[in-house]
Assembly symmetry: C2
Homo-oligomer: 395 residues x 2
Amino acid sequence: MSGARLAFSSRGNALIGQAMFQVLDGARRLEESGVKILHLELGNPRLPPPPQIVAATIAALQKGDVGYTYSAGLPALRQAIASRYNVRHHCAVGEKHVVISPANFLIGQFLDLCCDRGDRVAFFTPAFPTYWAAAAHIGLEVVPVPLDPKRRYELTHVEIDAALAARPRAIVVNSPNNPTGAVYARAALDYLADCCETAGIWLLADETYGEIAYGAAFHTLAKKRLPHVVVMSSFSKIFAIPGFRMGYAIAHPAVADKLIQSLSTQLSCLSAFTQQGCVAGLKVIDRYAADLRDRFRGINAAISDLINRSNLLRCTAPAAGFYLFVDISSLSDNDLEFCQRLLEEQHVAIMPGRSFGAAYAHHVRLATCGRSEEVQEGVTRLMDLARQLAPAMCA
Amino acid sequence: MSGARLAFSSRGNALIGQAMFQVLDGARRLEESGVKILHLELGNPRLPPPPQIVAATIAALQKGDVGYTYSAGLPALRQAIASRYNVRHHCAVGEKHVVISPANFLIGQFLDLCCDRGDRVAFFTPAFPTYWAAAAHIGLEVVPVPLDPKRRYELTHVEIDAALAARPRAIVVNSPNNPTGAVYARAALDYLADCCETAGIWLLADETYGEIAYGAAFHTLAKKRLPHVVVMSSFSKIFAIPGFRMGYAIAHPAVADKLIQSLSTQLSCLSAFTQQGCVAGLKVIDRYAADLRDRFRGINAAISDLINRSNLLRCTAPAAGFYLFVDISSLSDNDLEFCQRLLEEQHVAIMPGRSFGAAYAHHVRLATCGRSEEVQEGVTRLMDLARQLAPAMCA
């Protein structure tokens, strides 16, 4: 059979691959040929999740909890999340504000519910690859608003005003940030949210790494309870369970209802047993999150120190999460080539900077959430390649 | 906070609720007040799934298989499905043709990849509610092509030619059918598929109930290997695990790649542990499916016999699946009122016919896959209501 005449829709044609997958595909081919690859490319935590989550999921499976459930999510999980925001963040969130959904799906659904084809959307860059992929799929015009690496990629009134001046239909803000590890100042986030609400601009606040902020304190925008502001987060990172595909939004009830209709139309519902697992996880989140913060504070400080002392590569020490956004411009302005070479010669997979915006082809991102001996060895090999590429500087 | 000024996108506004949920919401309110409701509304099998599935899922969880995996699905599951089609249906399906996805998601993604806003899509009616909801969401014009109840809702050249004459961008065909239980003749399906391929019309063949055909033999359209024909199915019904949210498509590699890009953009990937469960399930599918066929053949024959002997309600004895599409026109032309009354007076939940197309407001659908004593009691109460509504005929 031939596929030559297949005519897809505009949205079908607008699906873009991600540059990252060129590296991943190469990594898989090498692994299939027997080569051991060190994985520093994905934010796929290689820590054991809280045992309570696995135990509760298994208990629900054994009880036969394998039928359909509510499109909005299990009431027990929605209530547990609402209660968490009440206790931890002192904000009056109720079950009706909470929608359970895969976090990645929420990004696309937020943009799809709020923006029409051809509308503008502003991202502060570097920005998480799914934002770009979702915007391309929907046919949005992206206005990238670059953050200043000299200011540690912090969000200031300068960038906020630039984003607003573009008169977008929606803005996406991600603090704590992937890939920079910056935690934006509360005053800046509040200013952004207030301006959006006043102007009727939709704002998605992706707070996936909120519980893993080990530097500056983290404040959720859910506290402001503004109708145009949708807060989202994920259990993937904080519980080391990306395979559960579980996250949530906190939104005005009218927006939550739209998200629920979208979930109901496209996914019917999520698994009840994995949601039961997350209910159990929320009971131990404080202890587990504290462990994660301790772990990544140490690892990231050590690695960013090593990188910066090399005088070959540069990065900002992150204040949250488990990524390092590394400037390779003194060695290369082609991240893909650099990643390819690191993979083929050193057997280390990392992510090309252009996944976070076309302007970042002289950056790469390292994920430090893998097994620690793999991460350390991966960074050692990265530095080996860096020295090879800059013999004069090292002499 | 007020949501009055919230302006959603066209697609956001086009999300429709489902009439079914009016009944479901009523059922939940009654249950919360302590009333026991008999559930004959959803195709939510209340049978234990094959224990091998639960055991393999638990084993994968215990092994820590909770990370990201391939967007296209686990290679082991794609291969197992391909092998099943080779052995059971003698068709040359390979891993590259198989995409793992929630089945409900595939319906929307198929339409979204193939059709642009304003395009026409043809459904043979009555048709499964998700088709209507997905078409409305995308902004498609639906051409309903009614099947003839006097011919047991079979698909013939008459309806196929009518669908083609509408010159749609896509057609959806569902055999074995939900809600009628009809299994379409192989010659008719082949004719439909060939005509679509020649005309460049996309065809989604929803074969979710293929393994539960206990009357006429079932033949998959995957066998024809036509680029414009996408076959889909689900593990929800055949393994009684709707909560796993797991199904698959079989498609031309170019179309499979598009579906994978869409999955990757919107969902990243599915859980690996539930996919491991389905791999184990495929090893025992023949035995489990034979049990299901025996069970539903008997239940459905008995119930449809009871209904037709009443001379108040009418239905076609299904040849597959576990639904009965019941004509209530001698008693009511308002399915919603009828369902509401059955719920409030008899505490039985069933689905209004209009969920399957606006022309079916004098029909209701019963699902017979619940616990058998509940199903039998539910049907008894349905007949009680029917007799109340038609005292003269019963005198």
